[in-house]
Amino acid sequence: MSARPATGLRAGTGHRRPAVGQYAGDRRRAWPYPRTTLGAAAAGAVAVPFLVPPYPLHQVTLVLVYVVALLGLDLVTGHGGLISLGHGAFFGVGAYTAAILLSSGAPYPVTLPAAGLVAYGLGHAFGRPAVRLSGLYLAVVTFAVAVAVPPLIRRLAPGGAMGLPVRTPGAPSFTGLDDDQWVYLLVLAVAAAAFTLMRSVIRSSLGRALVALRADAGAAELLGIHPSATRAHAFAWSAVYAGLAGCLFTWTTGFVAPESFTVTLSITLLAGIVIGGLGTVSGAVIGAVVVTFLPAPGLVSGLALVLVLAVAPHGVTGLVRRAPAFLGRRRP
């Protein structure tokens, strides 16, 4: 067979990989750290509720909630290159689905699949027609959803503008845990499952198809990838993730109100995934921290966002991954 092409790269060696996220090559490295690190992180995450006082624990739980939402958003935005301004609304619909079921006496495990199912239906209903046109239309359609959902909730949902307080999942007595510890562990379990599923999906045919469509839809189509069906499917599942996250939000806070799910939430989620790093699973985790702790929209948070993007155009994950190469270059 023919000679190996002269590329200037030593094939098979671990050359520098400055590109990350949507520009990275081998996305098998969705979690680029060894298994032991992953195990340590898991052990640490399980230990958190026994080490951290209740209020910070509540915040850490919220971070995990947003991780689920951002994992979903990243499928569409990071990999698919489509902008969704409606994930806050899907989040809110999931949260309200859970809250209404809980307040009507349903056991809390039922609320999770219900929230996912409702979000899937909405995601399909709005995504399917929107993605046929182009990425910008999806942004506009989802923006319309984000604008329409809070007033609809105010009008139709029980509690109206005042919001709806619900009971949070209680720890079974045999565990001897506090309720907030139990909720944390529940949310952690869902987030871990969501994380694992998403990781294998982005490494699968579906993940590759989304990236291929973003790069060159015409060429991708000739390989047998149906552009609008693939994007609509990804969008619907992305909405499922947002809906599940909304349900987890209700479990965590025990209170939902229309004002929590305005278009600001959608934009904050989008900003979070961009700051964390598009197209990377760890970007979703960092983005979730940003979403949880970002101060209320205003001058300070706006300037902070601009500053972060100026320093780290590929998000925090990109910055961290490029750091070794950068420092190595400085060495004499």
């Binding site: 050359h15 949507q22 090559g25 081998d26 098998r28 699968s204 579906l206 000739l222 990838i225």
Partner: protein
Amino acid sequence: MVPMLEIGRLTVRFGGVTALDAVGLVVGPGEVVGLIGPNGAGKSTLFDCVTRRRDPDDGVIRFAGQDVLARPPHLVAGTGIARTFQHPAVFPGLSVRENVMTGAHRFGAAGFWRAAFARDGERRLRAHADRVLDLFGLLGLGDHPAAGLPHGVLKRVEIARAVAAEPRLLLLDEPAGGLGPEEALALSGLIRDLHRATGLTVVVVEHHMEFVLGLCGRIVCLDLGQKIADGPTHVVRRDPAVIAACLGAR
């Protein structure tokens, strides 16, 4: 025997310009056909019609007896047609191996739920992609991002991706474009080996005449949207009209 590709009266107009004027072409199974002609002769437009990127104004296209024009573009691959582009349309966000795996997309699971649990399928796709990469001498670059590779390698990656789809008809649009003489020779050897091993039907659009003369058993020449010659390589290369249209002009 049913021809692999059968094109009749294919006509494409861009405004007042006729890019293809009632072109007919029949390619038998296992043939390697060179499609030549000066720039603007309608060669790529013909490929675009066969792969459903462009709707012809008139004409029929049959692939192995099936009407191609009745299918949407994403189902063309399923019938067994694959193509490459003049400018390599490699996906920069994916690694070289993932690009080739995308070529085999139709063999994988694409639903979210099934994709999440498609470990075995992924392993098979990966092995399939690695076999194709090995064939093209690209195995060592499998994990490299497709962005930032030299043009010649990208050409090769794109052909590997098309081959990974296991087509019966392979349409190559200027595979040797931008390649050095050695690279072009190696590529031509590769395509010949592939053809010999699989009995694949190949149609090559190419300006590089040595490449075409060395590879193709038959040459079709287009000029200004019309077919001016069609026959065995040794005949067409001496055809005065062909020489005037493309060979002489070089």
